[in-house]
């Protein structure tokens, strides 16, 4: 299996957040677990950490807080307003 780039992982994470918007609140570690579950050994936690940083810095997702921190689309309930 070919290695995923950081950007590709970030895109996959974004798609997950988008797909489940309003249904599930992903913590950063949930996204990491999903990616690793899907791609197995070709990605590790460090890759996912770098991808999370790319994702958040791009502004496509923002952090939210409801008891604990989670990642969501901008403008969602409990999320940072852009």
């Amino acid at each position: 299996m070919s290695e995923l780039t950081t950007d590709q992982i970030a895109d996959e994470m974004f798609n997950l957040v988008k797909e489940y918007a309003g249904k599930k609140r992903f913590k950063a570690s949930d996204l990491t677990k999903e990616i690793i579950a899907k791609h197995g050994d070709s990605v590790n936690k460090k890759d996912c950490k770098a991808a999370l940083r790319v994702l958040m810095d791009s502004g496509r997702c923002v952090y939210g807080y409801a008891g604990g921190s989670f990642i969501s689309l901008p403008g969602e309930e409990g999320a940072a307003k852009q």
């Binding site: 950063a28 570690s29 502004g59 952090y63 921190s69």
Partner: protein, 406 residues
Amino acid sequence: MADHKLRETPLLDELKKGPWPSFVSDMKKMAERKPMVNDLLGQLELSYKEKKGHWKHGGLVGVMGYGGGIIGRYSDAAKEFPACAHFHTVRVNQPSGWFYTSAALRELCDIWDRHGSGMTNMHGSTGDCVFLGTTTDELEPIFAELTEKDWDLGGSGSDVRTPSCCNGMARCEYACYDTMDACYNITMEYQDELHRPAFPYKWKFKFSGCPNDCVASIARSDLSVIGTWRDEIRIDQAAVKEYADSGMEIRANVIRKCPTSCMSYDGKEITIDNKNCNRCMHCINVMPKALRPGTDTGATILIGGKAPIIEGALLATVLVPFIKMNKDDDYQEFKDLMERIWDFWDEHGVNRERIGECIERVGLGNFLEAIEVDPLPEHVHHPRTNPYIFYEEYFEEVDDAEAQKA
């Protein structure tokens, strides 16, 4: 002079009476040039009258890319007090040991005067320098000005909270490792964990240079690093004599107060059975000229302390009895341990559960096994608690015996 009408606050004014400095007096001074503070006083007066708070959570506000550092607050009485409709708190990562130059303080206050209420809390219980009260629009400009001057935001939410330390070697002869260096190093190492919340819940590091634990790390942090020594307390018998000559009741105030009864005094010299000393610091605190920590110094790492929020309070308990806090290898041993603990927490932590609660839930034995730390007598919290450590080798031996019988 104020170009707005100052709020009447008869109830709050009561707090200006009495011998102590009053936050009301300070706020009133500020209210003359900051409408936000004026309305804040008005809202607080209302709260005193109604015995009811008027702040609400409005979800997260923050700066681009960061998931922590700013705590959003909105007024639910904004109609009446429009200037404090938004009242967000900004946590600014304090310098290690809270050392500032006056120039640095001016820099911070000037930024805050331009973009916020001008009120600060030096310092919050997390350790941060806390800027109290600003609006959502001002957040990015504040962040830009802070970072331009090499300041940064602290932590909030499910992340590494701003680490803090006692001023250790900078001012205190008891320090058994360089707390300020360790605190700074760990802060820089975990920038990602600090600004991008990825944990089940908050994680606090605190560093104290000796068992006096001036930052109360044992009660207030998930991971507490407390300086200690593993050789012998240094004794200067000439100084012991000076204390005696100046009238100190050495037997009553030092020897008999040693919690492990490991000291003796023959009227001339103190002897210590160091194997039984639990490094409580009592004797050293009473006779600092005569007694000093040893020279083979390092730290004890404790885990699981927390204040009551969701579950009750926990004091941290020993995880690693002695570790060299080694600057030269960049605290590698410490960081390796951290990686293993966080891997475990990622895997087994439940949302809003602190590591101390997580360990109680899964059992200390399972936790230790997962992070590859051997069970030790020091892991027993106190006499008559069962750490529930099972030695697998023991079961294996039985299995072997069964196998031989068969």
